[in-house]
Symmetry: D2
Subunit: 177 residues, 4 copies
Amino acid sequence: MVGVMGGGEELAPEIYRLAYHLGELIAKEGWVLLNGGRPAGVMEASAKGARENGGLTVGVLPGKDGGAASDYIDVVIATGMGDGRNYINALSSDIVVALPGKAGTVSEIALALKNRKKVILLGADVGTTFDFYRDEGLLANASTPEEAIQIIKRLHVPGKTHATPGSKKLYGKYIIK
Amino acid sequence: MVGVMGGGEELAPEIYRLAYHLGELIAKEGWVLLNGGRPAGVMEASAKGARENGGLTVGVLPGKDGGAASDYIDVVIATGMGDGRNYINALSSDIVVALPGKAGTVSEIALALKNRKKVILLGADVGTTFDFYRDEGLLANASTPEEAIQIIKRLHVPGKTHATPGSKKLYGKYIIK
Amino acid sequence: MVGVMGGGEELAPEIYRLAYHLGELIAKEGWVLLNGGRPAGVMEASAKGARENGGLTVGVLPGKDGGAASDYIDVVIATGMGDGRNYINALSSDIVVALPGKAGTVSEIALALKNRKKVILLGADVGTTFDFYRDEGLLANASTPEEAIQIIKRLHVPGKTHATPGSKKLYGKYIIK
Amino acid sequence: MVGVMGGGEELAPEIYRLAYHLGELIAKEGWVLLNGGRPAGVMEASAKGARENGGLTVGVLPGKDGGAASDYIDVVIATGMGDGRNYINALSSDIVVALPGKAGTVSEIALALKNRKKVILLGADVGTTFDFYRDEGLLANASTPEEAIQIIKRLHVPGKTHATPGSKKLYGKYIIK
């Protein structure tokens, strides 16, 4: 399960394409995409990219109403916990890819790192804030979605966690049209 | 998305079979099964029933470690919020089926009803505690898994909420072997 | 810290007096009162009873805005987690007194019992639902606020938990006008 | 209610003194101090500073057990929600002062800013990460605890929110020995 984090505001076209393309590549690897589930920003774009390329998408919403999710989300988790759900996003992701965003995105990066999840920055500019974690091997930079996928493959040795085999199993279980 | 709630302790064989059979029927309808995700009790049995019959299973765990989920869970949400996740289970379910359990199960029934989710009691004995909600049409009893499925079909008019079409869409999107 | 749970709707006059009087007695013991913090129902009445009698009141709100708390709450915790805060209420109380309420109240009783907190029913009618916990010594009935206070004193041997000494220390530290 | 955030690890002596002195000044203003409640790092030091100078301290714990709180915490909120409680800390603070820390502290700064709470950096180095919020007037720097107190007084016009009058009322209600 790859968590994709990033801004919920209107996106510049190049960021939209970046998020869409990342979702596409995640789907093509057979991985499950998890994000914040709202029909906006990086969430909508990455879910669309994954879904239109046969992927499974999971959205963890801040609100109580599952109906508020993006149409590109398959599995809707309605938490009713506002930004408290950012912690759930961090914990539920096997690895996080962070696109540009504001404080919400930074909080997800921070919560992921605190809980020893690896984070790949794809356009997210966090300055020197998290350099401590870079030294620990938890933080990496990617300049393209393709590079992010390569880093995930390198960092995430199959069989070491529940996630990669889980995704594979899921991929094997369903045949995507 | 059908939430299946019930005890996390060791089950009497007939309750195990009841939970397994309910999971099986949910899968055969093409619905997604959501539960508490742990490898125990009603959670394990219902997830096994769904998975062994081609269904998709979602587990919302109390702990931080997704690796603690039942092997029969496809999509693992690790909340790190303890029983706070019971609220998420209630909100994320389009409808809840409650099997026998103790206070954890009762809390999920209560949180579902408070948030206007329909609850079907399948062996869960809650006495007269929730009769207020029975009068409002939110609480029903089923004596068999088959009857629970019939009630879900009757209560949940397709198209009225995001859930049934979502599940259908999911069902349509993947071809189950 | 004594948790007072009960309905958030308009109260019958006798329930209002019951909640107010319970708050009054808790304050006079020098204990801290914790409730759901909203300006309604049992929350408002019990906080008013405590505050008008020199007690300290803590309100754990479902919403994000601390300004929505009852005027009778001293320490406002804004959770932004909806009914997810019911779990926090249960965990933060050293003991819970439950007045009449609907599903929200039942969920708090259930979450308290599941987490091995003692619960005293003061007018809350839960039928036979929690009899399992009664047998374990976690659930008791009181017919008056005075009786509830007596049960708390009997169950809660000073020094055994952090709470009673904490409250005492607080009581000793401030001189109430 | 002033939220004090910062690292939970062992502190350099000068950071310990900074946190203690900030707690002391908050107490002397008659404000309530809120932090993460654990007996470690900035939490312990700031709570000690406030308590030894007559202040009221509120600790919002990650764990389920209120007994794990620092001895210098008066009102213990046990959330059982892990770092999910960082969101509660942000929402419950009228204003946040951030001392040096790692990802946990950054997540609290981020969640506070996202929810339009003012944050004063007292030694916390966040690089340029939150400059967006600086331009919006939500983020300020202080070089000493005294300066932080001055900024709080300037930013927080009495009567504009529930918090300052609430604290005043509390201060007025109890006479500190």
